[in-house]
């Protein structure tokens, strides 16, 4: 969601919603203080034959140890007739100044507890 808060003057303040903020949290980001850098081109890559560990925080398929370990669950795109899609981009961000971001929590705009 994206809307604009408008002061009596013509000064518009962009406002966004993010599910990454907990209920009752509001933040303010100073755009001049927000630096972001990226690599050349982000890539989508496709495979119908790769074998992958199906995990949000996947480790290596196997690891040497005592005993050796094998990750689970492992899926073969070829065997299960899947299409695997991965997106890769080099990116980094930084605040130039700690005052460039402020946030609050437990706001009670609609009444206590909202």
């Amino acid at each position: 969601m994206h809307f604009l808060l408008r002061k009596p003057s013509d000064f518009k303040i962009p406002t966004f919603c993010s599910g990454a903020l907990a209920d009752g949290q509001v933040a303010c980001l100073g755009l001049d203080a927000f630096m972001i850098a990226g690599g050349s081109v982000p890539r989508f890559e496709i495979s119908k034959t790769a074998t992958v560990v199906m995990d949000d925080a996947a480790g290596p398929i196997s690891a040497v140890g005592t005993p050796n370990t094998v990750a689970a669950p492992i899926s073969s795109a070829y065997q299960q007739n899947l299409v695997l899609i991965r997106f890769v981009a080099d990116i980094d961000w930084q605040l130039r100044n700690a005052s460039g971001f402020a946030w609050t929590e437990n706001v009670t705009w609609g009444g206590a507890g909202e």
Binding site: A27, A37, M54, I85, V88
Partner: protein
């Protein structure tokens, strides 16, 4: 007669992001035979960008497409990264992180560099005074702090069945799925309180305590809370900030 193409009815606007999603679909569908260019031509006959993407190669395509729009930022003449041009279009128009990227005047490109050093000057009123004729001139030694930005690999993967990919309007399915998941995943990192590591950038809350919320309710509380936040941020980014709220 023009063939009926369901995907054309639901297709997103012509953006870098659309080209990337379509190229991914064409690549996926062509792996069982044929080639991606043919798939793209058959699926989206009027889409010259996706065909050009395959014919020119990704790097050349985006270099050519982006060259006319990116030359400078507010703080340096380092060309804007192509990634930062494309990523907001993949994240979609409703994405908080995508909009933050687009609105930031400080978009930099790593190019072939392994790091970018950025400097911040601490504002000071010292070094300024009225002086008499012949008096010594004040010179202030600025307080500079340097920080380093390094490429962090943003990785995102998902699996879909071949049937879903091949026999449905994959674009209508894939575009919002990628946009929502990628956007929420990115914002989860962007808005957390974790400090920077060699793997990930710092969350914006890292080292920054929450400002106490106004204890009132209703419109007064809204105004007070937003004013309190804005007054903090305005010190370093006057008239150029955005609010982010939980939905």
């Amino acid at each position: 007669m023009k063939p009926f193409l369901p995907s054309e009815r639901t297709a997103p606007k012509n953006t870098f992001g659309r080209t990337m999603i379509r190229s991914a679909i064409a690549m996926g569908r062509s792996l069982g035979g044929g080639d991606a260019v043919s798939v793209a031509e058959q699926e989206w006959p009027g889409d010259q960008e996706t065909k050009a993407y395959f014919k020119q190669g990704a790097d050349d395509f985006f270099r050519q497409r982006a060259a006319s729009t990116i030359t400078s930022t507010a703080t340096s003449n380092v060309p804007t990264s192509t990634t930062l041009e494309i990523l907001p279009t993949v994240l979609g128009p409703a994405s908080c992180s995508g909009n933050a990227i687009q609105l930031s005047p400080n978009k930099l490109s790593f190019g072939n560099s392994s790091a970018i050093a950025t400097a911040e000057v601490t504002a000071s009123g010292a070094g300024f005074s009225f002086i008499n004729q012949g008096s010594t001139f004040p010179f202030h030694q600025m307080a500079l702090s340097q920080s380093l930005m390094t490429p962090k690999k943003l990785a995102f993967g998902l699996a879909v069945t071949d049937e879903l990919y091949t026999h449905t309007n994959a674009e209508a399915f894939l575009t919002p799925v990628v946009a929502r998941n990628l956007s929420l995943g990115m914002e989860t990192v962007l808005l957390d309180a974790e400090t920077e590591t060699t793997t990930r950038p710092a969350g914006l809350k890292a080292g920054i305590s929450a400002t106490a919320a106004d204890t009132g309710t209703g419109q007064d509380a809204v105004v007070n809370d937003l004013s309190n936040l804005a007054s903090i941020v305005s010190a370093v980014s006057p008239n150029n900030f955005c609010f982010i709220m939980s939905p």
